[in-house]
Symmetry: C2
Subunit: 207 residues, 2 copies
């Protein structure tokens, strides 16, 4: 089944829907026809949610997380340890870490990683604002939580050097074998790191 | 990763995106954040394509296919055989049949099938307009191309009885084993029908 229909309006809607990542034209057509079955006000609400999001969304002036106000709900939270900063690539990482319920500090969103191949240098990221936060506040620890690929490691090392003058503790999240994974199927680099960064038995089991 | 973010705007957009069939909240969040990365005018174009579709779409007054004009491109086409009517459940079926390039007649969209369980009776479907088409035009054959389930068969039989006064040939699409399927894994009903409705060897191979 292809999606060439007799209507330019359907074509345009399918074009737009299939421009989303992971949505092919066949799925897009199914979604568009589903939308077409809805009431007009429901479709307006569907469409408006995206334009409103773009026009009204703010970025937290402290951590660059998305926010409805000047400061995001995490930077505004009283129960959190604001002397801890966890540096992440984007807001998806915040959501992922928040869902673990294991971290109660603040965040800093870089907005990407250094990637010469994509033309992204340190000045394209929210690094200056991170340095300012560290120099102007009493920060006890900076946790670098970036992807374990070359760009992530490069960015982590760059940050580590930039932050070294401040005498603040800089740490990075543990790399190793995922909980429940078989050792024999793990890649050598992760397995090697998990041996190098081994921890006392009681510590790792307690958590 | 859950999608509870610090922003009500994101929440609303994720709610709307995940209201589409087959899109979970995790995928919806990924799609919404992808949209957020786009330019404002691109998001407007995305959103407008759906509201515009709903407000401007017309239904072909002859066959009830969706259309940009009074008559759809199929009913308007000169090269097609308008004495043939293929009766389908919805416009997806038209697209599916069109993509086979084996049919060059016209269509009639019922808009559903008779389903007492869902409270859909004959009067909720475009059956009256089909009867009118058959009585007012010179129709040589009506091909019933509905789903092979109970509702489809019931609707087919209802149409067959309604159309019998017109002396027009009424046919139904062949049911049987799909091309390339193993006989041993086929369901008994399809296999039984494929034997009952067997055709001369040369006919089925030529096509």
């Amino acid at each position: 089944m292809n999606s060439s229909s007799s209507s330019k309006l359907i074509e345009e809607a399918v074009d737009q829907m299939s421009s989303l990542p992971g949505i092919g034209r066949k799925t897009a057509l199914r979604l568009v026809l589903h939308l077409l079955d809805r009431e007009t006000h429901e479709i307006s609400r569907f469409s408006n949610s995206f334009t409103k999001l773009k026009s009204e969304i703010k970025f937290c002036k402290k951590c660059r997380n998305i926010s409805d106000d000047e400061l995001c709900s995490i930077c505004n939270a009283k129960g959190r340890d604001h002397s801890l900063i966890c540096v992440v690539q984007d807001i998806r990482d915040i959501l992922a870490i928040e869902s673990t319920s294991q971290y109660f500090g603040s965040y800093h969103v870089l907005g990407g990683v250094i990637s010469p191949m994509d033309g992204i240098g340190p000045n394209d990221l929210n690094i200056t604002s991170l340095i300012e936060r560290v120099s102007e506040n009493d920060i006890s620890e900076i946790i670098i939580a970036l992807k374990g690929n070359m760009e992530g490691e490069t960015t982590g090392f760059y940050l580590f050097r930039k932050l070294s003058p401040f005498q603040t503790k800089v740490t990075t999240i543990a790399r190793g074998i995922a909980v429940g994974d078989d050792l024999e199927y793990a890649d050598e680099i992760s397995l090697g790191r998990s041996i190098l960064n081994r921890s006392p038995y009681s510590d790792s089991v307690a958590k």
